[in-house]
């Protein structure tokens, strides 16, 4: 059982020479096996929350804490956070020219486990995970995210989720830019990992569409850099009908 605790998290981003405050005290606790949907309008700070937890150098934490089973995540380097069991599926995955997917996956797996995976089972695991995500075998020899379509990038993120087996995953708009078929494949992937490993999920999304395929236990409305309201599945249904207007006019 793992717990990710975010307490009163405040984050600003460097722009030119001023620091812009974006997260204004976020409180959220995610346990193993739970799925928390974070829903909010564009620009509300959802990606900032994801990047700050992952340790992106562009985001400065100005207050609050993030704990993983009581350990201070903010004191860890980016790579240490991943090795501690955190995973971020990025909204815009980065191209790494000249580095093949297979080399990248093996290097990441070795880093996360602290030892190289057994070659035979590893090859089988990679092939199986790729087949489940309907990815062609030739994918392994392509360079990381280079020339990938939007859908291929998202599948590749979920492929990593399946293989690296983190304890808590943050999925930042994994649904955006996917057609219905790809959305189903990717959602099945997430559900598979949840079932097999008891993964805790922070599912960041702009739309309710993905919630048809991945059942949230909790829904949080994210507006103006903080959680404006929390509830169950029904909150998502209300958002579907009413949109975010109610929260925006309420003022920040």
């Amino acid at each position: 059982m793992t717990t990710l605790e975010i307490r009163n998290l405040q984050v600003s981003v460097e722009t030119d020479d001023t620091a812009k405050e974006i997260l204004r005290g976020v409180d959220l606790t995610i346990n193993s096996g739970e799925t928390h949907a974070i829903m909010g309008p564009n620009g509300s700070g959802k990606s900032t929350l994801a990047y700050a937890i992952a340790g992106h150098p562009k985001y400065t934490v100005t207050g609050g804490e993030v704990l993983l089973d009581g350990e201070d995540v903010l004191a860890m380097g980016v790579d240490e956070r991943a090795r501690a069991g955190l995973f971020l599926a990025m909204q815009y995955p980065v191209e790494v020219p000249g580095v093949t997917v297979s080399n990248f996956l093996r290097t990441a797996k070795t880093a996360v486990d602290g030892e190289a995976p057994k070659l035979r089972t590893w090859v089988k695991d990679v092939r199986g995970a790729m087949e489940a995500l309907r990815m062609d075998a030739s994918f392994a020899e392509r360079n990381v995210n280079e020339g990938f379509s939007g859908g291929e990038k998202k599948r590749h993120e979920i492929l990593q989720l399946e293989l690296l087996q983190p304890r808590i995953a943050i999925l930042d708009e994994t649904d955006s830019g996917l057609d219905v078929d790809a959305l189903k494949v990717v959602s099945e992937g997430v559900n598979r990992v949840k079932e097999n490993t008891g993964l805790g999920v922070m599912l960041i999304t702009h739309y309710t569409r993905i919630l048809r395929y991945i059942q949230p236990d909790y829904v949080h409305v994210f507006v103006g850099g903080r959680v404006a309201e929390s509830g169950g599945r029904d909150l998502a249904d209300r958002l579907e009908e009413e949109g975010y207007d109610r929260f925006l006019t309420a003022g920040v």
Partner: protein, 408 residues
């Protein structure tokens, strides 16, 4: 939201005569002064077009018209030639053919090297012989600042196949000419490794004449030395020739690594591919690439492409990249070029590290990835291995000098 600062100018134009961002030189490359007479080349001031990137004030004695500073039992540079059975090893006096038939000096460095080499090393691979082992010429400079002149003549007979590795270590003020004759249908690869110590200065003109249907590959690998300035030039003796000029360089603080290439498309239906890639790190690390291609009127149906990419790993380093394309015929299969200089992309580092990979390994992956395509083109295992080791060793330096910024 990218942290990448990339002043990329990438451009590809199959019908290059339609324009593009390449420079059209004021004077045709063909009109460059060439002579064996040292006096006709003034000592450069740095204002000349061909010398404008070079720190001429740091060249030391390398342009002085002086014999090699050998002392009794203590040569300025040690030479070791290892040639497999069948290869003829001899010497050629100035003016003794084929010496001087292909290489005419194009700058003062090449002219002093030519004048001051009384016995040029002559390596000849007989026709039809396919060598299983490389020919090796090991040059070891025996003291920074000591003048050393060299001229090598390399002949690959018709339909022969050979790999020649010219390896430079140690330090000297070295001028080295390489004159290459690739016979009809021959397949020749020349590797020039610049693994000099810090104090070395090295000027070079490597000039090749590529025979009918012959294949020539020239690979320059420059890692060491204070200043390296290498010209790799090609022209063709008949139609159907194929030339590949490759270069890999890694400059640290205080190093100036300059590579110039000139493909003179003077025959029909030939091809050329020029690819140079380099990384730079540290204050005042400097690299220059100037790629000249001339497509003459008679060069119908040729195809050429040149590419230079530079990866700047730290602040204070600077890469210049200048493609020059002159086209005198409309009847070509293709001509294109691309050139770019980009900063090390911190987003790539973040992406890899967010998967648990530590910073040293993440950097190594990114930099190795940058070189991956050219390393695949080199295709000579011993060179590839050396290069990989050297890149890893260079990155070790960055890690020591640059405390990690991504933590905390």
């Amino acid at each position: 939201m990218s942290l990448l600062i990339d002043d990329t100018t990438t451009h590809q134009d199959p019908q290059a005569q339609l324009g593009g961002d390449h420079r059209i030189p004021d004077q045709s490359r063909a009109a460059r002064h060439r002579s064996f007479d040292v006096e006709t080349f003034a000592v450069p001031t740095g204002r000349e077009e061909e010398w404008r990137f070079t720190p001429v004030d740091r060249l030391g004695g390398v342009l002085t018209d002086e014999p090699t500073q050998d002392r009794e039992g203590d040569p300025a540079a040690d030479y070791e030639v290892r040639a497999p059975a069948g290869v003829t090893v001899g010497t050629l006096a100035p003016g003794e053919a084929p010496r001087g038939t292909v290489l005419v000096p194009e700058d003062r460095g090449a002219a002093v090297a030519s004048r001051n080499t009384t016995e040029a090393l002559h390596l000849s691979v007989p026709a039809d012989l396919e060598l299983a082992e490389p020919v090796r010429v090991q040059v070891e400079g025996r003291g920074a600042g000591r003048r050393s002149n060299a001229h090598y003549v390399l002949e690959a007979g018709r339909h022969s196949r050979a790999l020649v590795v010219l390896d430079h270590t140690g330090a000297a003020d070295h001028t080295g000419n390489l004159e290459v004759i690739v016979g009809d249908g021959a397949e020749l690869t020349v590797v020039s490794l610049q693994r000099w110590d810090d104090g070395a200065v090295h000027l070079a003109q490597h000039e090749a004449l590529v025979g009918r249907d012959a294949t020539y590959k020239h690979i320059a690998v420059s890692l060491g030395g204070s200043i390296v300035r290498m010209n790799s030039n090609v022209r063709y003796a008949g139609p159907g020739g194929d030339a590949t000029l490759l270069g890999v360089y890694f400059a640290d603080a205080g190093q100036h690594l300059e590579h110039r290439s000139f493909v003179d498309h003077n025959a029909p239906r030939c091809t050329s591919l020029v690819t140079y890639k380099g990384a730079l790190q540290g204050q005042t690390a400097r690299t220059v690439w100037v790629g000249d291609v001339l497509i003459r009127q008679e060069a119908q149906g040729i195809e050429t492409y040149e590419l230079n990419r530079n990866l700047v790993l730290t602040d204070g380093a600077r890469a210049d990249s200048v493609p020059n394309l002159e086209i005198e015929t409309g009847d070509i299969a293709g001509a294109g070029h691309a050139s770019s200089t980009g900063r090390f992309d911190d987003e790539q580092l973040f992406y890899l590290m967010s998967r648990g990979i530590d910073e040293a390994n993440a950097r190594r992956l990114v930099v190795r990835g940058f070189f991956a395509d050219i390393i695949a083109k080199i295709g000579v295992p011993e060179v590839v291995d050396r290069l990989m080791e050297a890149i890893d060793a260079e990155l070790q330096l960055t890690m020591v000098s640059q405390p990690t910024e991504t933590e905390g």
